[in-house]
């Protein structure tokens, strides 16, 4: 090439390369600003729903507090005492209205059980129910609660997990709760990060999975030394052990994790169970902080087999902080959503949306991470997320909360965090090597994400437009129809912040259908029951869950948005027992309450 022409051309090419990121940024910013300009009634017209933060008018007045651990951790206390705000939805008194429970974590702070009064307001009845005063240095402090009717008496019982002593509370006919932890044979101390109810052996009795975060040998109020941090930012194996409590009936449980192959000391932060392979048995997915996710295939209730690497979900280590399931493509298969950390220019792990690969199933099931392609990858320092059809258009959407430590807004801990996080085991695992936080923020004040599924394989971020503008340090989110209007409202639990209640208003032209299931030969909570709704050549599957997201549990009721249709083709219900029932063209815009046939 002639040098006279070649050199200028080369310079132009070089400048074009340098300009490429700026062009990409410009186009991204333009499409985002167009969406955030929409609000109020225009959001309802454009996106089919809007959310209004209504905790004050609903009588919800709850602020999460954090514990104070051993003075040896004083310099990084806000980083260690960083979780504990959790929310779980339950109709504990069986009055047909969804209630919810929020946990607190400061020593002496109180948890709250908000009873739905059916008029748009809630009343905290935790003290009367015996579920308020549950946080102390001696017992440990709450991290979350999950509800399941372990004795099949028709009332949802509560398992409370702490960094401390786990507790099982029996629901006495929706009036009071009785502590039955010793009778159940629960351990004295677990620094639990997650717990879920599921009937892994399909014997009709709910079993309990608990995932440890810090090692169970550690008492955070009385540290023998400071070597209690993860030994690696992405390959840590010094977390808490796993527990699987098999329900023997009569409030007796047997710990069978080792026997069934659930062996792991990763730092579990979230778990969810569902039948991913069509075997009838629930498989178990665990999202781990400081490491890879784990997927345990359930071999007939006899054994669990870890297949994370084989299936693709356990290949790349990240900071897993959420596990939720949703049929995002209306193909009748569950995708798994795992949240991680994304901070511009520093750490871009990206969240994972694991979609089952077409043509794979059963033991050969493979997943591909399509978070980027579908637009749900970057959620900042992400925590809890839940799938649900927020605008009843027939495609499930995704609500994500985020934010790690919001403190001094002008001073960041990111540099010091990144400095030590990349260090060797001997350095990172010892808390005394971590520089003091000194009231600095770390990934704080972050804007939440509400991703709207467009039904064509993309999610669009509309949080600001539809009214979600809080920037608290979100941990846990749960979706439920609190007003029996056929719409999903949102409750979020925020670390060192208030519990928020977002009331949803949805375009009334969009139809919906919901199912409340009660098992007979299956567990009475019907946890594990799958419902498939078929319409317009589409199908959507949902499963009754004993816990999902981050330290959260959605309503037991399964809610399907349907869009502007007149009828659906059929509904297929597969109970945990294996029985299948089919409803032909059931009525729309109503909750169908179904009992498993005898």
């Amino acid at each position: 090439m002639s040098k006279r022409i070649g050199k200028p051309l080369l310079i132009v090419f070089f400048l074009a390369l340098l300009a490429t990121p700026l062009v990409i940024k410009h186009f991204n910013a333009r499409s985002e600003s167009t969406r955030s300009e929409t609000n109020g009634s225009s959001a309802l017209a454009r996106y089919g729903f809007q959310l209004e933060e209504s905790s004050k008018s609903a009588g919800i007045n709850f602020t999460h507090q954090t514990p104070t651990f051993d003075p040896k951790l004083k310099h990084i206390m806000t980083q260690v005492a960083v979780v504990g705000a959790a929310v779980s939805v339950v109709d504990f008194d069986r009055d047909g209205w969804n209630d919810f429970y929020v946990t607190n974590s400061g020593e002496g702070s109180r948890n709250a059980l908000y009873r739905n009064q059916g008029d748009g307001t809630f009343k905290d009845v935790a003290a009367d129910a015996g579920l308020a005063d549950l946080n102390s240095r001696e017992t440990g402090v709450s991290m979350g609660a999950v509800w399941g009717d372990y004795d099949n008496d028709g009332y949802e019982d509560m398992f409370l997990y702490r960094w401390g002593r786990p507790e099982l509370f029996h629901n006495d006919s929706g009036k009071r709760f009785t502590r039955v932890s010793e009778k159940a044979g629960l351990p004295q101390w677990i620094n639990a990060g997650t717990a879920i109810w599921f009937d892994y052996d399909r014997d009709g009795k709910l079993d309990l999975f608990i995932g440890g975060y810090y090692s169970e040998k550690i008492n955070l109020w009385q540290l023998s030394d400071t070597k209690m941090m993860p030994e690696s930012f992405e390959y840590a194996n010094n977390g808490g052990r796993k527990y699987l409590y098999r329900n023997l009936g009569e409030c007796k449980f047997e710990e069978v994790s080792e026997k069934l192959g659930l062996r792991s000391n990763r730092w579990a932060f979230a778990a969810v169970a569902a039948d991913l392979r069509g075997t009838g048995y629930p498989d178990l997915f665990v999202a781990n902080d400081y490491g890879v996710s784990e997927l345990f295939f359930n071999d007939g209730g006899k054994r669990f087999r870890e297949v994370g690497n084989e299936t693709g979900v356990g290949y790349q280590p990240k900071s897993g902080m959420n596990a939720s399931l949703g049929d995002v493509l209306n193909r009748g298969h569950f995708a798994i959503y795992v949240s991680n950390i994304s901070e511009e220019g520093i750490l871009l792990q990206g969240n994972n949306l694991w979609i089952p690969r077409e043509g794979t199933s059963g033991d050969k099931l493979k997943y591909d991470n399509l978070a980027r392609e579908m637009g749900v990858e970057l959620g900042k320092w992400s925590f809890g997320a839940q799938f649900g059809d927020l605008n009843n258009d027939g495609h499930i959407d995704l609500y994500l909360v985020n934010g790690y430590v919001s403190d001094d807004q002008n001073r960041s801990y990111w540099y010091d965090f990144a400095k030590v996080a990349g260090g060797n085991r001997a350095i990172i695992s010892d808390a005394k090597n971590w520089p003091p936080m000194d009231s600095r923020s770390l990934a704080g004040y972050q804007q939440k994400r509400v991703w709207l599924n467009d039904g064509a394989g993309k999610f669009i971020e509309v949080a600001q437009a539809v009214g979600v503008r809080d920037i608290y340090d979100g941990r846990s989110v749960a979706l439920a129809d609190f007003s029996n209007r056929g719409v999903l409202d949102v409750v979020t639990a925020n670390q060192r912040g208030p519990a928020l209640y977002y009331r949803n208003t949805v375009n009334p032209d969009h139809k919906w259908i919901a199912f409340e299931l009660e098992g007979r030969s299956s567990n009475r909570s019907a946890i594990g029951a799958q419902v498939r709704v078929f319409w317009n050549g589409l199908q959507q599957v949902q499963e009754v869950s004993g816990g999902s997201g981050f330290c959260a549990q959605n309503q037991r009721r399964l809610h399907f948005g349907l869009g502007k249709i007149e009828q659906i083709d059929k509904v297929e219900i597969r109970w945990p027992s294996g029985k299948i029932e089919v409803l032909a063209a059931p009525g729309l815009n109503k909750v169908h309450r179904l009992k498993e046939s005898a």
Binding site: L17, L18, E231, A371, G423, N433
Partner: protein
Amino acid sequence: MTPEVSTSPTLPDAPEAPGTPDRSFVDGVKWFFSFENRFLAPMLITLILLAGQLSFGFLESYWKTSLAIVTAMFLELVLGRLITGKFPHLASAYISGISIGILVRSPAIWPYALCSLLSITSKYVLRVKDRHIWNPSNFGICALLFLAPFSVASLSIQWGNTFLPMLVVWVLGSLIIYRLKRFHICLTYVLSFAIFSALRSSITGHPFLAEVAPITGPMYQLFVFFMITDPKTTVKSWRGQVLVAFCVALVEMILRLNEIVHAPYYALFLTGPAANLIEIWWNSRQRPRAMDFEGAA
């Protein structure tokens, strides 16, 4: 004048192969670990890649790393042919590509290709006195960290939970770099980093181990073995090289005290070209004087 571009990180104009059939085995081994073996540095970086990937799976993905490597090598071929009129040796482009494939962290695919394109193009565009002055991958990574932080970060994880893979790479890497006669650069930098860590610790009050922690990660192995030792973008004299390595660590310390997360990349980005420009200027002064002297003689 046809521009001379880097074709190998060690000795661009070195002989291609062991050569004569009567070469003994010992000579062969000696050659293998010699300054003349153009494949030694590529082999070392491949070893680091394999050690990291096979023991802990530290790559973002095989595809992204492959894309970075293939893009760098392809562009090197194209630009080399167009600008110099001949096909260049691809060792340098391979090292740039593999460094980018390991060091760039992005959920997107485009930064891997763009970083390779920027790195290789910079060698042909940013030249003074027919010499490129930035280490190519350092330039590409800094450009993206600065221009595209919304989509790009850099490798910040460690070698799993054990010292072993790290130790293997440090020992083998040091041996190879020693044979390549550039160990003094690495040693100066590492010692300077340790001393400046102690100094930073005394200034900030943070534990010494916190300050020294970054150098225990794989990012620094690539940085120490490949970026600061790149023959084409380092000064020529032994003393100059030692001084520049010290200055890189010094600038890095200043950046770290200002809490710049990507301090090592930016330190080399600032120091390397400055040193090269000083050397070019110094040499241009020396030549006329030498010619004057010769003329006088």
